[in-house]
Amino acid sequence: MSAPQKPGPPFWLLAELTYRCPLHCAFCYNPVDFARYEDELSTEDWLRVLREGRELGAVQCGFSGGEPLMRQDLEVLVAEARRLGYYSNLITSGIGLDESRIKRLKAAGLDHIQLSFQDSTREVNDFLSSTRTFDLKRRAAQLIKGQGYPMVMNCVIHRLNIDHVERIIELAVELDADYLELANVQFYAWAQINRAQLLPTREQLRQAEAVTQQWREKLGNKMRLLFVVPDYYETRPKKCMNGWGNVFMTITADGLALPCHTARMLPGLAFPSVREHGLREIWYESEGFNRYRGDSWMKDPCRSCPEKENDHGGCRCQAYMLAQDPAAADPVCDKSPEHHRVLEAIAAAGKPGMIEKPLVFRGPKESRRLDRAF
């Protein structure tokens, strides 16, 4: 068993500027109880966070949300990120992006924009996001290209759109995308609530992967296609966040510092707020960031597993959600005594006619009604 070593710097700083969002996606990873956290950090708070993160050694800065374009000070934050030497990434639905805004962001030094779609068709895109936004997104794609940015599209893939993968790729080609990420939904927060409706079947997954591979060969270097496999169909867990408190730090809209975007749900861990603590102290000294570093926290089967360095036992949030213990093996692993929970979900997905619950769309009203962490 190795003693925890002093970690390196956090290379990634993710600024979740706001939980406000014009979309109501049924697979959103924001906390289910996001409506509790309306007290957003001020511009001055964010400028300090950016500065302290850079001093710690962070180089990648993501501006995310919610919808980061909802923050009217986004340009100010982008300009400061550029001045400090970050590579800045805007992760957006495109809603709120118009000609003058994108020009201001470009002038502020924004390096990169990732645009999300929900589907290739207006009908399904607008249904899944519970909005009328498909045409706005196409317009946003044109604006992004028009400013000379590479076009990086992201589409969350799940049971309700996985059969449209070919059309989604065709849409990306039509919009002259340089990069398309087909990200299979991961089951956290709103996606976890809707898991029965969103988990694809094994056959759907196999088809979608085959189609993606055909297009990869057809497109060659013209467009890069990334297919993120859903971890439920793996037998080993993902190396979540590339290790807890290893390279990644998220700051939530209300100022909580987290080792990943969903760690807020974990019980018994008081994550520090940037309103009260500096980032250096948070990264190196806080209990929240130190708890699952190294491997001394592991239990069996992870503790004695020869593969533990490969995946660090997987995702702590998934362990908590599925095995009710954040220090357990991620039940995605087939060595986990709770692996049957994943297999049961997969088996249920394969049975037609079993899904009768309506989708729960993310929104402040639903958030207050559900009032729970996941």
């Binding site: 290379f11 050694g57 990648q60 590579y87 390096d111 990169h112 990732q114 940015y149 590479p150």
Partner: protein, 96 residues
């Protein structure tokens, strides 16, 4: 023969860091890094020295000459060309 012609063409090229990428020195890592959307490559010392001269102004001949002078070594041309071809394949640079 054709390899020699290719090499001659390459020597006149003026490579530059690819659009959307940024090269910078990171004191925290004691290294040059190449930043791209949502990612980073930490470069070793020689890769950093070559790439920081890929500014779209210098041609390959000049880059090689500068490196040979700066590090007081000779015959770097093959190594530099091999690296620039690798960097092109990785889409780190354009214009080779």
């Amino acid at each position: 023969m054709s390899a020699a012609i290719d090499a001659a063409l390459l020597l006149d090229a003026r490579p530059r860091i690819a659009r959307g990428l940024r090269l910078q020195w990171e004191p925290a890592q004691d290294a040059h890094v190449l930043l791209y959307p949502e990612g980073m490559v930490q470069l070793n010392a020689s890769a950093g020295e070559i790439l920081k001269r890929c500014d779209g102004e210098r041609d390959v001949t000049a880059i090689v000459a500068e490196l040979e002078q700066a590090f007081e070594v000779e015959d770097l041309q093959q190594d530099v060309l091999a690296f620039l071809q690798l960097a092109t394949a990785q889409r780190w640079i354009e214009g080779l």
